[in-house]
Amino acid sequence: MIKRILASVVFLSLFVSGALAQTGQITGKITDTETGNVLPGVNVVLSEINQGAATNAKGVFTIGEVPVGTYTLRASFVGYQAYEAEVTIEEGEVVTHSIELQPGAVGLDEVVVTGYGTQQEAEISGSISSVSADEIQNVPAQNAQQLLQGRAAGVTLTSTSGNPGGGFEVNIRGEGSINAGNEPLYIVDGVQLSTNQGSALTDRSPLNAISPGNIESIEVLKDAAAASIYGAQAANGVVLITTKSGQQGDVQTTIDFEGGIRTPHWNHNPLSPQEWIDMNVDVLGENVFRAGYLPLFGYAPDTPFSELRRYDWEEYISRTGAHRKVGFSANGGGETTQFFLSGNWSNTEGAVRAVAYESYNFRANFTQELTPSLNIDSKLTVSNQDQPGVCQDGFFINCPFSAIQFAVPISYPYLDNGDYNPNQSIFGLNNNPAVVLNEEERSVDVTQIIGSISPTYQINSWLRLNGQLGIDWSQRRDVDHEPPIADPGAGGSTYTSDQTITNLTTNLRLNANRTFGDVHNVSAFIGSEYRREFETNNAFSVEGFGNPFLSVPSAGTQSGGFGGANTEFRLLSLLGSVDYNFDDRYILTLSGRYDGSSRFGANQRWGLFPSAALAWRISQEEFFTFDSVDELKLRLSYGITGNSGGGNFDNFAARGLYNISGSYLGQSGIAPGQLANPQLTWEEKRSINVGLDWGMWNNRFTGTLDLYRETSSELLLGRPLPVSSGYGSILGNVGEVQNRGIEVSFQTVNIQTQSFRWSTRFTAGLNQNEVLELTGDQQELNGGGALPIAVGYSQEAWHVPRWAGVNPADGRPMFYDENGNITYFPDQADDVFFDGGEEDVSGGFGTRLNYQGLSLDVFFQYSYGATALPNTERAFLGNQSVFSSGLSFLTRRWQEPGEVTDVPYVPAGGVYPNSSGFNTLSTYWLYDASYLRLKSATLSYSLPSNLAEKVSLSGARIYVSGANLITWTSYLGLDPEVAGAFSESSYPSERQLNVGIELDL
């Protein structure tokens, strides 16, 4: 195989022509057609040779040393329709070519980043969502994931945590995998990021290293035609992030300052203190409440109720967090060197005590022309994030969002003398939320370097060699220190965990691009790529701190355990694609990748991932005569991509292994770990996509519609083995999941005048998920569980008994049995399938108004059809009294015979003697987590340039922005956005309000 490719490469090389000697120059001025103003910073490129320049402050561009020939000149600028013209360069002459750009909506002429290259949007045959810098300017966002939310149709982002720096669960077109993960492949400037960057202590995004302001565009490769060039890693889609490059011309420097606040934006309705007391007196009787309960919280039994403290724990855990940000960027360069430099610092306190996020970020992007035909692109970012956090996502009493469920309103954090209240709860002094929030230090510190160096060698006017050497290096340190008061069992403890990931990617590609007979445009590339990801991790714990002051390991007296290991995987690939474009009407794209992965079984290491796509630009046909339609394109694609599991399962899962495990009398143990499966291979996804792109009324109404069906098979699942063999299961390729859906997105320019512009944008993605097959004839993966993963249902379908209300006669909770009759003790046989935790439809819509220097952008995000379980709320209701502050709906509890209500009576001690509990996991607790959220709003004002010049600035802009401003939902829990299917002490989204100023020097 390799030899054959080599032969063809040599063959191709024979056609390399030597005619490069004579050159000419092209120059021109670019202006706005409507205002006549000059436009600085416009990108001008001779597309065949990828040589170009940007206009300077006077709107003039110059491209020198252009080989003689005829080229397509393209000019593109944000907010304007792209310009294209044919120019001929003659030896030694200066061609002058001035351009007027037409303002317009983001149209089909945009250049879009694709796998290993760029394409004009009009020529794209696959399904790609693109988010440009313009669209995300000044959006309050800490990382690039957030920018995708609601802006790319079919990309579902579920916030996994609202803490500053928190991440998202990103699903592109639904969840195709059960075990191997559904996260897309993230690629920053061609560098594939490691997917293995989580922290055990708090929630973080894998894209925190990239400052949102440095992003030029984000592209999401959704269908197989677009993504299969990434082969075995592409089944979950690919997110390409491109950072800004330097533009030739005068240096443009911007400094920006931002300040703001973070405040709670969650929904929590506990009983009022008086309601809580009334309920307990009612349920327990006053004597029992006084004698049994008041002493638990440090009160004498005869304390008058009026002297019981009324404490608001929700207020205790929250605060108004301050946010500060400073940044600069500089952009410019001469003919041979262009640069983009940027530095950013931000420090954000969360709306919950002890939570913060501090980020440093430097970027240096250079483009250097070494010889007229050899360019080097270098992109480098160095970043550090420090993230003190709190417990979240689990049923833990030390999580603040559990604390507000169990901390009763008559308890309080501090005694009058300032000491912590030891009688705050029945969980002991160390679980007083004040001790947890003040004394425990849990922080995550990450340093990450993402860099690449990419030479481009223009062999001749149609043949080009590209290479890249990329690195993604990160080091994460988790530290969790609890002084003796917070961890009395260990006498104080410090846990330290270090992880280093060295992730190298290198590739070489030969690109050809030629037009034959004016109508046959062919572009193609072949290449090879090698990726190696190496990870080391070490963790240890130290206990026995004699004092509350020192927390480093040296201050401890004994070990609390240790561990460390390393792992790696390697991926070797051959890849290529051919684009054939006939007369700009018919476009055929074939692409494929041949991947070999170290992760899979000896017999199945290599696999081919091909795709084909066809596009028909109907609007280019002669018979197409609708003047109002500028562009109409039909796309069809089919292809195969793979999911090799990312960080979700072991790099050596295919092998028969005996693991280091346990020890006995100083001898470390070796335990049979897994049986070999030499056939183990990646999950395979077959996708079909039909799409339509349109542009109407001078591209004032543009949009995209896609329909897809994706079948993921060969899923990586454990095939159960009889445990009596010593093994519980063997990992195999079994099972099948299907996703079907529709995506639509459109943009409109509603009003466009000389000084006023009103535009809107909308995206929606509808997806339906179904498990088609599990291992063998297995019907449920987690049989008996509430989220069983069952054949014929969506992956997150619930399986619980049906709630039948409250018996009006005695207030008992009632359920339906399998036959639809009332039962008080539902069992597994009574479980029914219920709508799942997946969104049915999600997306966003926004609108922007520009009037002279004034701009208002408002963006809404929505999710419809997810069913979530607020489990912390449910679980603490198991003991409504002493363990729980109670939710306000308990005021509707059944109290006397004949009463018709939806909340059962509250029994003393929480146990219902004659029925299953109210907190039985039934359909009662499944809440519709649909929501509509005013996600962001930005109002900005750009100073007129004459005013700015008076203070020696070339421009200035001030803005106010906000995020998570208003939410409409009927969900019971704290925040529907972070809920997922199963919500336990999740950290809800925070409201953000910012004021900022940007100065162009």
Binding site: V10, G669, G726
Partner: protein, 499 residues
């Protein structure tokens, strides 16, 4: 010229990239850092010794320590849940499917597979012959110990199924596997063997182990009760004979175990002042026969699941019943050595709710985690006192009341307890006294529930706890086979009465 230069550059560059790929091999050259291949594991002395270490390490799990030791106390009348706690509540109330079998199943068969590897999976000629033989004998002992634990949880003793009820005539034991699983095709479904076959497999293993141990050169004979030895094999054989009501054999094996324990380890009945030392890791156990050593740093089950966490250190979920405490006479040294006031050492305060289980709010203090972290205890699976009690019961059935009471008195004299007069006992009363003595002596060492069951008696609950006795005919006397396994292992039969 330039044409050729360029062509050469391009070609060379691609050659470097692709040829370096000969290269395709590069993706084969990764190795895990915490695992070795099966071939390596079974063919090098260090890893084979690692498999042996793992076989013993299985006993550091909660299922083989806390459940094994404390479970049978909670399932019968020795301990009960403290008000406000919830650990082992299901066992206290003998809830359906709440036995100790579900947790133990995986571990039992993992340990058996370890043993099978040492017996028949490791490559020949890697270890010196004597060591290899010793490992086989240890493996046979562990296989016998775990197989016996499995069969007492899931099956009736031979000939002891109830005379009525769903379990009547039920005679299945558990799945027997005697060869290691080396490939997926060996991990096949396998049926449960009749309980008599299980017992004969156990006896074969123990007999073979004893033969091998006794013929080992003296340098290979372990001097440590922390491994399987001829002593522990004899002692386990005595227990297995007792379960089968082979009284003569049981008496004789117990005697052999006692003699060997004395000569090999210097173990003998501890005096009244040494009782704490039996369970205190900072001193050596004077009664040792087979003890799993636990390194407090790395081998503890941890704060939530350790024996000490259940009984004496922190959560105090299982409290000795008043019924148990009432069995001790006023001078019985065991009452002082192994019990004390309920106290949460971590919080530094007495927890509420102990007094609901016994009058004076007493906790069991056999397991106190005396080592550097509070949640690690050694697990004493076999010790001298049990051999005395086996002999007393065996002699009652062979020689009668006075021989039995006399053997009990041998034990009681070392416990500061009063001497019993055989004249006060008929056969049944003597039997009752032996079982009571087993409670006094062996509480929370893994016996009480199984003592009642092997004799076909109802599972008794302590009065005043609110839990009801479980008649021997009740299906709950046998734990259910984990239901997931019935789907995977199609030849597996569920215990009677469970669906």
């Amino acid at each position: 010229m330039r044409f050729f230069a360029k062509t050469t550059v391009v070609t060379l560059a691609l050659l470097v990239v692709l040829q370096g790929c000969d290269f395709a091999d590069v993706i084969k050259r990764t190795e895990p850092s915490t695992s070795v291949s099966q071939e390596t594991a079974l063919s090098s002395p260090g890893t084979i010794r690692g498999i042996r270490a793992k076989m013993y390490d299985r006993f550091h799990s909660a299922a083989f320590s806390t459940d094994w030791m404390l479970g049978p106390a909670a399932q019968a009348d020795n301990t009960f849940i403290r008000t406000g706690a919830n650990r082992m509540q299901g066992l206290n109330f003998n809830n359906r499917r709440a036995g100790i079998g579900t947790g133990a199943w995986n571990n039992i068969y993992s340990a058996i597979n370890d043993a099978n590897l040492l017996i028949g999976g490791i490559q020949e000629d890697v270890l010196p012959e004597a060591e290899r033989n010793r490992l086989e004998a240890e493996a046979r002992f562990i296989r016998a110990l775990t197989l016996h634990h499995a069969t007492r949880i899931f099956g009736y003793e031979p000939g002891m199924s109830p005379s009525s009820g769903p379990g009547s005539g039920f005679d299945l034991g558990v799945v027997i596997r005697t060869s290691p699983t080396l490939s997926p095709d060996q991990a096949t479904s396998k049926a449960r063997a009749p309980v008599s076959e299980v017992y004969s497999q156990i006896e074969t293993d123990l007999t073979t182990a004893i033969d091998i141990f006794s013929s080992l050169p003296s340098g290979e004979k372990s001097q440590s009760p922390n491994f399987g030895t001829e002593v522990s094999a004899q002692a386990l054989m005595a227990r297995v004979q007792l379960y089968q009501r082979e009284w003569g054999n049981a008496d004789q094996r117990a005697q052999q175990a006692l003699d060997l324990a004395n000569s090999r380890f210097g173990s003998s009945l501890a005096g009244p002042g040494e009782l704490d030392a039996i369970f205190n890791e900072t001193s050596s156990n004077p009664e040792a026969i087979f003890t799993i050593d636990t390194d407090p740093l790395t081998e503890s089950v941890g704060v939530n699941l350790a024996l000490a966490a259940f009984t004496s250190k922190e959560w105090m979920a299982q409290i000795p019943t008043q019924d148990l405490l009432d069995l001790y006479g006023p001078d019985d040294a065991r009452r002082d050595a192994w019990y004390g006031p309920c106290f949460d050492d971590i919080v530094g305060a007495a927890p509420g709710g102990c007094a609901a289980v016994n009058e004076n709010a007493i906790e069991l203090q056999k397991y106190e985690g005396e080592q550097s972290t509070p949640y690690a205890d050694d697990y004493i699976h076999l010790r001298v006192a049990e051999m005395y009690l086996i002999q007393a019961e065996a002699r009652l059935n062979t020689s009668g009341v006075s021989a039995a009471i006399s053997r009990l008195n041998d034990l009681r004299s070392q416990r500061g307890a009063s001497q019993l007069d055989p004249a006060n006992f008929n056969f049944d009363q003597a039997y009752g006294e032996i079982l009571a003595e087993r409670r006094r002596e062996l509480v929370a060492e893994g016996h009480r529930y199984f003592d009642l069951k092997r004799l076909g008696r109802d599972i008794r609950k302590a009065p005043g706890t609110g839990a009801s006795d479980v008649p021997f005919e009740d299906i709950r006397v046998l734990d259910d086979i984990p239901s997931g396994q019935l789907e995977v292992n199609t030849e597996l039969v569920q215990n009677p009465g469970y669906n």
